[in-house]
């Protein structure tokens, strides 16, 4: 359906963090032909990132934002990518994501998640923020869900924290990242024209 691609081409999505959630979410949005992505991260790719993040072995040691931009453009050369090597604080978020239609929260640390959610809800109340919370371990597909709280939408199981026994692994992290991308589409395109059978 042409209108889907025509609509998405005009949209800009901000992605805060380019780890497991951010890199996979960005890739899904690049594939469906979003117009522009604003991606931000300060970190460098390490060997342990490759169990879940959308990078390649020969990119170890590179900055995540630049490597991700490269990978996104390999899939969709028409995509516009603003790659920002930055450790985001509240003021940066307000400035950098000001033009975005939707902001994706893809940080690792709980305190960073809190910071961006508080910042967006307080200072950018007209923006949608799609957050990924609870993605550690494996299995338990049916614990993963989406909760709508006005303009804050949370994807994930909401309770399982990363630990020694429950590391973040590609399948569950990828599912949550793609749930976030899927939610972004629902915000940008509206609900899809399908009536669920009871």
């Amino acid at each position: 359906m042409q209108w889907i691609y025509d609509t998405l081409k005009t949209k800009t999505v901000g992605i805060a963090g380019c780890g497991g959630l951010g890199s996979n979410c960005a890739m899904a949005l690049a594939r469906v032909g979003i117009g522009r992505l604003i991606i931000a991260d300060f970190d460098i790719i390490s060997n342990d990132n490759l169990n879940r993040q959308y990078f390649f072995n020969n990119q170890i040691g590179k900055l995540k934002v630049y490597a991700l931009k490269e990978n996104l453009l390999r899939v969709n050369p028409e995509l516009k990518v603003n790659a920002l090597d930055i450790r985001l604080c509240s003021n940066d978020i307000i400035e950098i994501f000001n033009d975005c239609d939707v902001i994706v929260e893809a940080f690792d640390l709980a305190k960073m998640k809190q910071m961006i959610i508080e910042t967006v809800l307080t200072f950018m109340p007209e923006k949608y923020i799609v957050s990924g919370i609870g993605l550690a371990g494996w299995g338990e597909n049916n614990m993963l869900k989406t909760i709508n709280m006005d303009r804050l939408i949370v994807c994930g199981d909401g309770e399982i924290e990363i630990s020694e026994t429950l590391p973040p692994l590609a399948p569950r992290v990828g599912i949550v990242a793609n749930m976030q991308a899927n939610q972004v589409l629902e915000i940008l395109l509206g609900k899809m024209p399908y009536k669920r059978s009871e």
């Binding site: 305190k111 809190q114 709280m149 309770e159």
Partner: protein
């Protein structure tokens, strides 16, 4: 008072509670939270002053590490 807490109706003995009192009663011990009362975000420094009363719609979102 009766409030809606995370989309569920709950009853408390008090007529009014601060956010910190509510968190203590509910035994919500997570450090990182996002709290909304009737859609309005309550920031951390307001947890001792912001209050919940009968009929309020309260969201307490736990933020956990992983991404």
């Amino acid at each position: 008072m009766k409030i809606t807490l995370n989309h569920q109706l709950e009853e408390f003995d008090a007529e009014i509670l601060t956010i910190n009192e509510l968190l203590k009663i509910k035994n919500f011990t997570f450090k990182m939270l996002v709290i909304k009362i009737n859609g309005k975000i309550i920031r951390k420094h307001e947890y001792d002053t912001a209050t919940v009363k009968d009929g309020d719609d309260v969201i307490v979102l736990h933020l956990i590490t992983g991404g």
